[in-house]
Point group: C2
Chain length 186, copies 2
């Protein structure tokens, strides 16, 4: 499997990787065990602090782990991991150790206890900063406190879920409209 | 400009178009005036009721219009509208009538007073069902009450914002992983 050479990245700019809407992997740790889930429902909520909103279904094993540890990592997989992403979504951390089963490498977080997934293009270490919307909406408000992003390629080939078993793979990247943007909209 | 032939679409399945993360256009009406804004920060929050969370900055003219009318339409533009999407983001409804300026057609909503943008691939008529998170997070919780989606193509070529003036255009669609999904994950 591909291993990316990553560098520190400004947390206020992680929207560059989440706003296009990729499927992400959420890794967490609690009571001496790690887990990973596949997630498609997330949004950027603020630049600074760097806030992300995400939906974790209460039936997911990760729900309790993230809620109780108050930490997780948002990892961005690329298309080479698509099969693994599906298998992670098909299985439960109640039954298996997903890092071991799917031969993924858990790298220690630098600011939190949850593990980074080495094979992903980017890893965003997050703290749960608002748990008040979990009961009503299963909505976790996370703050990205540390970001690690691959040095290349500049734009990852990410996978985006269309439902019904269909993935869209990110396509052409263009800056041909860039000169038309007002500076404050960049 | 392209005009799509649309049909009614089940509101519980609109995640198929929003979960991949496209830039959308939000249209609204208030006090006899229409407006449109460009939006990239949104997420699916529930299938049924069909809930969407979205961030509207308080400085946007649409902020007050959606908050006070308690309605809006989420429209999905395709890549042929990319220049228009940028210009809509660059301008303010305080200064211009965006439908007239950008030669877009306002079609009346069937369940709400806000107008649909005829030239977009899909139109989701929404009601603001929870305004309690607007003050703290600029987060609008919307319920899709009616959906109109183009009959073809099956998968639209949408635009996704990477920040810094760069768009990603949706690429290949594949169901090659479909048979590996557990039915409940479709």
């Amino acid at each position: 499997m591909k291993v990316y050479d990553k560098k520190d990245f400004p947390v206020a700019q992680i929207r560059r990787f989440l706003e296009p809407g990729p499927i992400v992997l959420v890794s967490s740790a609690w009571s001496g065990r790690n887990n990973i889930m596949t997630m498609g429902w997330h949004m950027v909520m603020e630049f600074q602090p760097s806030l992300i909103g995400c939906y974790i279904w209460s039936e997911n094993h990760s729900f309790q782990m993230v809620r109780d540890s108050k930490e997780c990592v948002i990892n961005i997989p690329t298309v080479d991991l698509a099969s693994t992403v599906v298998e992670i979504g098909n299985s439960s951390g109640r039954d298996i150790d997903k890092f071991a089963t799917f031969k993924l490498t858990a790298r220690p977080g630098t600011r939190i206890g949850a593990p980074l997934i080495e094979q992903c293009y980017a890893n965003f270490e997050c703290k749960l900063v608002d748990s008040s919307l979990i009961r009503k909406y299963s909505l976790f408000v996370l703050e990205v406190v540390k970001a690690h992003v691959a040095r290349s390629p500049r734009y990852p080939r990410t996978i985006h879920y269309r439902g019904d078993g269909v993935f869209m793979i990110s396509g052409e990247n263009t800056s041909r409209y860039r000169k038309r943007f007002k500076p404050q909209n960049l």
